[in-house]
Symmetry: C2
Subunit: 223 residues, 2 copies
């Protein structure tokens, strides 16, 4: 028996299933108290050895925002070229809302992470995993509050680090677009646009890698 | 105005704030339908370019579970040594519940990830970030359902990959202990045991790296 009521349990599943990576925003600003709640939710994420490696930067300066957008746009073109035969299809997708969204955040991993060994001696990338959990917290809280969010990872991290004057050794991992929206996409935008499909759940869960429980599903890790 | 009710919004924040990294479990099994809901929640996570890089493996064999525990125990000792002056303090912490928990999962990144360029050309680690979001979804859904979870990252990933016969190129990133619990820790266990403290939120949020908004807070990334 859970100590959460049925309504509460359903609300958590609802936020998880209705969260979307948004790229269309209304320009209205986000209320300061609401933004503080979202950042507070992010900061309650789990972190390896309780290292709390996440750092959030609010981008308030409009010329800085335009510079970030230029970095993203340059990488969008480079990505399209790297995609080869899907270049044109990719270029037609809307992949970010950096200029339009009400609030722009950059998330970076702090410098000096090598001092943290707990849970990271053989898996140093757990710092990033922790920061991703923080971002997912923020995303779900935002969805519940009716605020859209998009995670943009198209940028050259060292160029963004220098643009923002982040300390050496820190690493930006996300440009987060946050804002009011007209509506949340009914399905993930990349699914709606036929870029990719949701895998069958059975194809990502197995009891044994060499002997998948369902012969109809692809063995995980092989596809 | 959100389309979530106040009760629903509060439920999402409650799951976020009452989620804990658990290491104490009751041995009772998890209901199959409940486990399916948790895995379904994980699979609804965002993923870079919709690549869905996560693979979940259920460990049902008790001798395999003991072998995983041995890998974790070996790494626990190696971590303690690497910690130097905190070795003894670390060895007294309970850092995992691999043998006791009702259900054991391993999460791995699939093989063949280099084919996915969208959002990863300059940040290849976004595959891990996506899988971490899936794990955070699972964690929050589990908390709402009254199920405890612990993310163990103390293992040699190649050794675990070989033990589980995962394909070359895949990478295990988590051993997840799931199960019923007597109670959720009121605060993170590493905080209760005085291993580390929660940072002030102001020390992880700034408007400008070189000019922190609050002189009382440490500049992010410097600490």
């Amino acid at each position: 028996m859970s100590d959460f009521s049925e309504v509460e349990i359903n609300a958590v599943y609802r936020a998880i299933s209705e969260r979307r990576d948004m790229r269309h925003f209304l320009p209205d600003p986000i209320d300061e108290a609401l933004l503080a709640r979202l950042l507070g939710a992010a900061h309650l994420a789990p972190s390896v050895g309780f290292m709390q490696p996440w750092r959030f930067l609010r981008i308030r300066d409009s010329s800085l925002r335009r510079s970030i957008h230029s970095l993203v746009e340059a990488e969008r073109v480079s990505t399209a070229r790297a995609l080869g035969e899907r270049e044109q299809e990719f270029m037609r997708l809307k992949v970010e809302g950096v200029l339009e969204c009400g609030e722009l955040l950059v998330v970076a991993l702090m410098a000096g992470r090598e001092a943290h060994v707990f849970g990271r001696r053989t898996l140093p990338e757990m710092d990033l995993a922790s920061a991703a959990c923080a971002i997912q917290n923020l995303w779900l809280a935002a969805r519940a509050e009716g605020i859209g969010m998009g995670w943009v990872s198209m940028f050259e991290p060292e160029a963004l680090r220098e643009l923002l004057k982040l300390p050496q050794g820190s690493r930006p991992i996300a440009v987060l677009c946050l804002g009011h929206v007209t509506a949340f996409y009914p399905r993930p935008m990349l699914e709606e646009q036929n870029w990719a499909r949701r895998c069958d759940l059975r194809s990502v869960v197995a009891e044994c890698w060499s002997d998948p429980q369902d012969a109809g599903a692809s063995p995980p890790g092989q596809g």
